[in-house]
Symmetry: C2
Subunit: 212 residues, 2 copies
């Protein structure tokens, strides 16, 4: 990706305008002990890139706006931990019926199943539960560990993973949610839940933060 890297002088100019705007090009030049002509290309770049606004006969303002470039930067800086939700976990021996109730109670689309040490052993999606619900068995008598997706077939992520990477995993694995985990020597501790809703919120936050 192409990034507009400001040089030291351009950064100084932005700081001066931030603190003193509106300020004329001459005044900026004076503060930097340079000529107006020397500054002209820098001021042009800063104005075109949207860091500064220029008003005729008034001077330069700090726009306060982020540039489009900043959108790309925000995207690469987005981490799972900035957008993850609280996980809802159930134990392996809970019945499918109770799991469905839990899902409605917590209003989530995915439940994580943990063993007695609180380590991740399975994932239950709305789809898994619906498939079981239309079967002829009594949902009160089927424990979730019979129908859940189990380790090692569970896709997961870490809170420091990039959001782009996590979104890719959701799409590739065709799943609605990833558990966010901490890796211990003897298992995975579930600390969060990353869903397509979180990605949709991230998409919107890009738009909001950059006034799109």
């Amino acid at each position: 990706m192409s990034v507009i890297e400001l040089n030291k002088r351009q950064e100084e100019i932005v700081e001066i305008v931030k603190g003193n705007g509106p300020i004329t090009g001459e005044q900026i030049a004076e503060r930097l002990s340079l000529t107006r002509a020397t500054l002209r290309p820098d001021l042009a770049i800063l104005t075109m890139a949207g860091f500064l606004d220029a008003r005729p006969r008034v001077g330069y303002f700090y726009s306060g706006k982020q540039t489009g470039q900043a959108v790309a930067e925000s995207m690469t800086n987005m981490k799972v931990k900035d957008f993850q939700s609280i996980p809802v976990v159930v134990s392996e021996n809970i019945s499918v019926y109770d799991a469905i109730c839990q899902m409605f109670l917590e209003d989530v689309g995915t439940l994580f199943v943990v063993d007695k040490n609180s380590y991740l052993t399975g994932v239950l999606s709305r789809k898994d539960l619906l498939r079981t619900a239309i079967g002829s068995q009594d949902l009160n008598h089927i424990p979730v560990h019979i129908i859940m997706t189990r380790m090692p077939n569970i896709a997961y992520c870490f809170k420091t993973d990039g959001l782009i990477q996590a979104a890719n995993k959701l799409i590739e694995r065709q799943i609605d949610a990833l558990p966010v985990v901490i890796e211990h020597t003897d298992g995975l501790e579930v600390i969060g839940r990353l869903t397509k809703t979180n990605i949709t919120r991230a998409f919107l936050s890009l738009a909001e933060n950059h006034d799109l």
Copy 2:
């Protein structure tokens, strides 16, 4: 949002470099019948903004890369029609059991319900179907029109809507999918389905198209 608007001369420079790069600043100046000094600020801006790459003693290349600014531009230009999926529709008198089968067969999370004129009358989510499935009634004997969300409570969008706007609707209404419709005088024709999966793909396509 701040947008780097290229002026006419800068656009000409980009075109020249596209067609003739690598090309030196002197050669560009010659083609434009200008001096190298006159072009210096323009070349600086184009290089910093990432439109051109400059290599010492070789000249200017067209980077072919999109700038970060282009990410913001892509986002505002994304339309529902660029990311929507094919809708799956069922008729109002189909049973809940058959609707669930249809949902698994088509592997979608939302079904749209239409009347005999093929106009939208309802929406069925996995959650609606799961709620009904754990009830004690026979799913073969409940028609979907009993349990569906019906007009006018259905959020929908048009194919020319901005994707940001549609994503906002998904989040605000807390739903998984929007029907994409054409408005007729006597009803809404369903032509697409816009889901959080589509938004997640859009988020990823931003990253891919801009080499993030």
